[in-house]
Symmetry: C2
Subunit: 134 residues, 2 copies
């Protein structure tokens, strides 16, 4: 997979917004002119910018929500979309995420996020090299 | 969401290949010229056409594998990609899937499949109207 820095930057911005519980930054992450979808594990699918951002306000406003860490991101451009796959760790559980982005006004903005349970990767980075977003 | 018939046809072809345990049809579903990824729930991420098709050979060759039914598909085109969201039912469990397609030689072919646990939809179609693929 190619790893376009601008796309990985957009992907990092998403997890940074999560880590900082920053709703304004989260609103910047998501597309404005393109319909967006968010598939949180175990939740009903959430369609539309307003509902997606509201779901994140609930998550980020929940003091019991454990940190979400990201590592192992790979990005590629297919058609006009950017596809990022990355691991997430939440309370020592491993998730794999698909994050889709499109360009809007020169910026890569997220149009879809799905994360779901995966098995621990064979090559799990040492803790000190984790790309932590706490 | 718009629902492009050609994309929904490609999505149906995927689930039909699953239902019929048809590895040749499954090979037709997936892209040839574009790197593909498949994220089965709980499995490690599978990257690359050969490994993705091998994973499906294992699943479709497993006589204990329960049927996978699909319903509620919605499709839209973003840039050069088609994004399909649909529900799956497996042994009365509800999954939500993201299926991505690109056009190769005039056909929409799958480049990514991720399915993961979701909650039962509020509007669950009656059994007789389910778009069953068994």
């Amino acid at each position: 997979m190619s790893n376009n820095p601008a796309i990985l930057f957009a992907n990092d911005a998403f997890y940074l917004a999560v880590a900082k519980r920053d709703n304004a930054a989260m609103a910047e992450v998501w597309a404005i002119d393109t319909e967006v979808s968010c598939l949180h594990p175990g939740w009903p699918p959430i369609i539309g910018r307003d509902d997606v951002l509201e779901s994140w306000r609930r998550i980020l406003g929940n003091e019991q929500q454990p940190p979400i860490e990201v590592f192992g991101a790979s990005a590629r451009i297919v058609g006009g979309c950017a596809v990022v796959l990355c691991y997430e760790t939440v309370s020592q559980n491993f998730l794999i995420a698909t994050n889709l982005f499109v360009r809007e006004n020169g910026l890569w903005r997220m149009i879809l996020h799905q994360s779901g349970v995966t098995s621990p990767p064979e090559e799990f980075p040492e803790t000190e090299t984790l790309e932590t977003v706490q």
